[in-house]
Amino acid sequence: MLHPITTEHYLVLSAALLLIGTVGILLRRNAVVVMMSLELILNAVNINLVAFGKHLQQLNGQVFAIFIITVAVAEAAVGLGILIAVFRNKETVLVDEIDLLKW
């Protein structure tokens, strides 16, 4: 149990987070939760980056992670804006009720 924590631990954790995030996107009908799941995925990437950075004795990974966080912020902002627009027009945030465009 108490063996040292290696980079691989972080990578596996990251994979698990990625997986959970993906499941969230695939399954949750609530668009807000879907967006939260996106955040989970980006966090998985960040774990990866920081772990690699440490593994490689560099700070680049952390910097990359900062940019990922920035991107996440931007996406969330725009996404929530779009969500509000959708809600205003359609009175729903359930993604499977938003299916005007098909076939």
């Binding site: 695939l26 299916d99 098909k102 076939w103």
Partner: protein
């Protein structure tokens, strides 16, 4: 004036006539047509006469005029050749053609309707026919001969279908053309064989190569030559109405009578005989083909004669008679006596043309009736017609001294004596002669003797034909008498004139001549006398039998021929057999043969083979619509149909898309995992 160099004008003149008729005829007065059209043929006749006379003085007896190269790859030129054989032919064609043209000016004079009901068209076609026929006989190579060959077929088609508002006429024309085409297919293939064997299609070269056996060894094997000859003969059977392709000729009587006389008796139908005679070098090399030719000829002769015995339509009797006589000619060709075949062709042209024209005159007299049962007693009312036809009937029956006798007798003798001949051939020919005499005189007795059986109205209108019709009859009658004199048997004594034809034709038939002479050496003259006597006897007995039955006996007493009669009357049911085989093979639900016959006539279904073709083409069309096109449409349909499932994935649900996305990722990972 050098006529020999002008022989190309001989066919061109009628062509000009035809062109004038067809393009401007509508605007010409009838009188002009009467002059121009026969005039063109007449001029040709004069030119031919001049040319033949000049040819006689040439030592080599061949003259060729080459206008220009036509099919360079087959070394075929627009070239005309005058030699003894073609000289006989052009004289027959132009001479008899001229007479028939003249006759037709009278016969067709009653054509009514807009623009004279096609008076000009008729003469245009007729002239065109003469052009093609002359091309046929004057050609110096096979392809050009084939031009004429097809051309006369075309004109025959046009003229048979001249009264094109009659459906039966159109059908008959089409039948003639298509049956001829079947023969032509054989002819074409035969030509290709010849070209491959000899490297040329010019008569002179081909014959030269064959005689000297100068053909390339790998193609010159024995079977190939026979096949070549057989293929050419297939062509000849089509054109000359031999078994099995004879069916078109009786139907061709739908055409106007002068057409029957010119095309279907005197000239076109003999083209097959001419072609075989032309290819004598080839046939001489292939005796087994010659046997076939002779056998087919003999079979056709007796077969057609037997049908002729019972026919009631005057023109049909003559038609079957023509088929029968053509069979005779092929017997002669088949036994190697080519000159005799040509001789019979030549005499036959006179009396058969005369018979047809006479029949036309009769029909003319009785207001278009063709059924002999409704004639009778015309002897005194139309004496000229009667007289001339009387002579012709004697001639065809083989009464000594008249043209038919000499040629027919010579054929029988050659059939008996030639090394290629046999007693069986003679016997068949003999029986045919008997039958010929019988049916011809049956025709005479039914038509001219006894009581008139036509209705009153017609009776009043019976009148002799105009001069323009009777004069040609008389000329032809003279010909029927004298034409045979230039080919008398040698037993009558050797004389330059009386054996003139054989000598004249000798250069053409070098090979054939050897065969014939070879035969003559081995038979004594007494046998010839005996056979001659037998055939005279046959002719006379035929005449008397006919006289006994059709003049003396009452109608009810006449022997019906028992079971044979319907068979003969229905032409051995050949049309029906063809029908049975091809036309109604599957739809014969208990219907009688007769019913089938009626249906055929009524339908006018092209012919047996046409039905088969139609059936196959139905299948083809079905195949095309449902299989070939169907497959295409099916694949198009499949593509379209696949479109929906593909689009179906596009459900509009975001998470379905994400699922596909992840499935793609999973597939990629899985792929690599699997590959590793």
């Amino acid at each position: 004036m050098n006529f020999l160099d002008l022989i190309w004008l001989i066919p061109i003149l009628p062509l000009c006539g035809a062109a004038i008729m067809l393009f401007f005829g509508r605007n010409l007065p009838k009188a002009a047509i009467r002059v121009i059209s026969p005039g063109a043929v007449g001029l040709s006749f004069l030119l031919s006469l001049g040319a033949v006379l000049q040819l006689a003085s040439l030592p080599e007896k061949v003259h060729q005029v080459i206008l220009f190269q036509w099919l360079p790859l087959l070394h075929a030129d627009m070239g005309y050749m005058l030699d003894p054989l073609s000289s006989v032919m052009i004289l027959v064609v132009t001479g008899i053609g001229f007479l028939i043209h003249v006759y037709a000016t009278g016969y067709m004079a009653h054509e009514h309707g807009p623009r004279h009901g096609g008076f000009y068209r008729f003469f245009g076609y007729l002239n065109l026919f003469v052009f093609f026929m002359l091309t046929l006989v004057l050609a110096n190579n096979y392809p050009l001969l084939f031009v004429g060959w097809e051309g006369v077929g075309l004109c025959s088609y046009l003229l048979i279908g001249f009264y094109f508002n009659k459906k039966s006429a159109g059908d008959a024309g089409k039948k003639a053309f298509i049956v001829n085409r079947i023969g032509d297919a054989g002819f074409i293939l035969g030509m290709f064989f010849l070209f491959q064997i000899t490297g040329s299609l010019t008569f002179v070269d081909v014959n030269e190569a064959l005689r000297s056996a100068r053909f390339s060894p790998e193609v010159g094997v024995f079977g190939v030559l026979s096949l070549t000859a057989l293929l050419l003969f297939v062509g000849a059977t089509g054109k000359s109405a031999q078994i099995p392709l004879y069916v078109w000729l009786p139907d061709a009587m739908e055409g106007p009578t002068p057409v029957s006389a010119l095309i279907h008796a005197a000239t076109m139908v003999t083209a097959g005989v001419y072609m075989c005679a032309r290819s004598n070098a080839l046939f001489a090399l292939t005796p087994e083909t010659s046997h076939i030719v002779a056998a087919v000829g003999a079979a056709t002769a007796i077969f057609a004669a037997s049908i002729g015995l019972v026919q009631n339509d005057i023109k049909r009797v003559l038609a079957y008679s023509t088929v029968s006589q053509l069979g005779y000619m092929f017997v002669a060709v088949g036994v190697g006596a080519y000159w005799v075949g040509v001789f019979h062709l030549y005499t036959h042209a006179f009396f058969k043309a005369l018979l047809f024209l006479g029949a036309g005159s009769v029909i003319h007299a009785v207001s278009g009736e063709q059924d002999m049962r409704k004639m009778g007693g015309l002897k005194d009312k139309i004496p000229v017609t009667f007289g001339t036809m009387f002579i012709a009937s004697l001639a065809i029956a083989g009464i000594p001294g008249l043209a038919g006798f000499f040629s027919k007798d010579e054929i029988l003798w050659q059939a008996w004596s030639s090394p290629l001949g046999s007693k069986v051939l003679w016997a068949v020919g003999f029986c045919t002669a008997l039958m010929t005499a019988f049916y011809m005189w049956r025709l005479m007795f039914m038509t001219f003797y006894g009581e008139g059986r036509m209705d009153e109205h017609t009776k009043h209108h019976i009148h002799e034909s105009p001069k323009s019709m009777t004069v040609p009859l008389m000329v032809l009658a003279a010909g029927s008498v004298c034409a045979g004199w230039i080919g008398m048997p040698k037993v009558f004594g050797e004389n330059g004139f009386f054996q003139g034809l054989e000598h004249w034709l000798a250069p053409v038939f070098e090979t054939g001549k050897e065969v014939a002479e070879h035969g003559a050496e081995h038979h004594d003259t007494s046998m010839e006398w005996v056979l001659m006597g037998l055939s005279i006897g046959a002719a006379l007995s035929g005449i008397f039998l006919a006289r006994h039955i059709y003049l003396k006996m009452k109608e009810s007493d006449r022997p019906t021929g028992g079971a044979l009669h319907p068979i003969l009357y229905n032409k051995w049911y050949v049309d029906e057999i063809y029908d049975f085989l091809f036309v109604h093979g599957f739809s014969m639900r208990g219907g009688s043969l007769m019913a089938a016959f009626d249906r055929t006539v009524v339908d006018g279904g092209v012919n047996g083979t046409a039905w088969l073709t139609k059936m196959v083409s139905r299948i083809s069309m079905w195949y095309d619509t449902w299989i070939v096109d169907g497959l295409v449409n099916l694949s198009a349909y499949t593509v379209r149909a696949l479109s929906f499932p593909v689009r179906f994935f596009q459900t509009g649900f975001l998470q379905s898309y994400a699922l596909v996305f992840i499935a793609g990722v999973f597939a990629m990972f899985g792929y690599f995992w699997w590959v590793r």
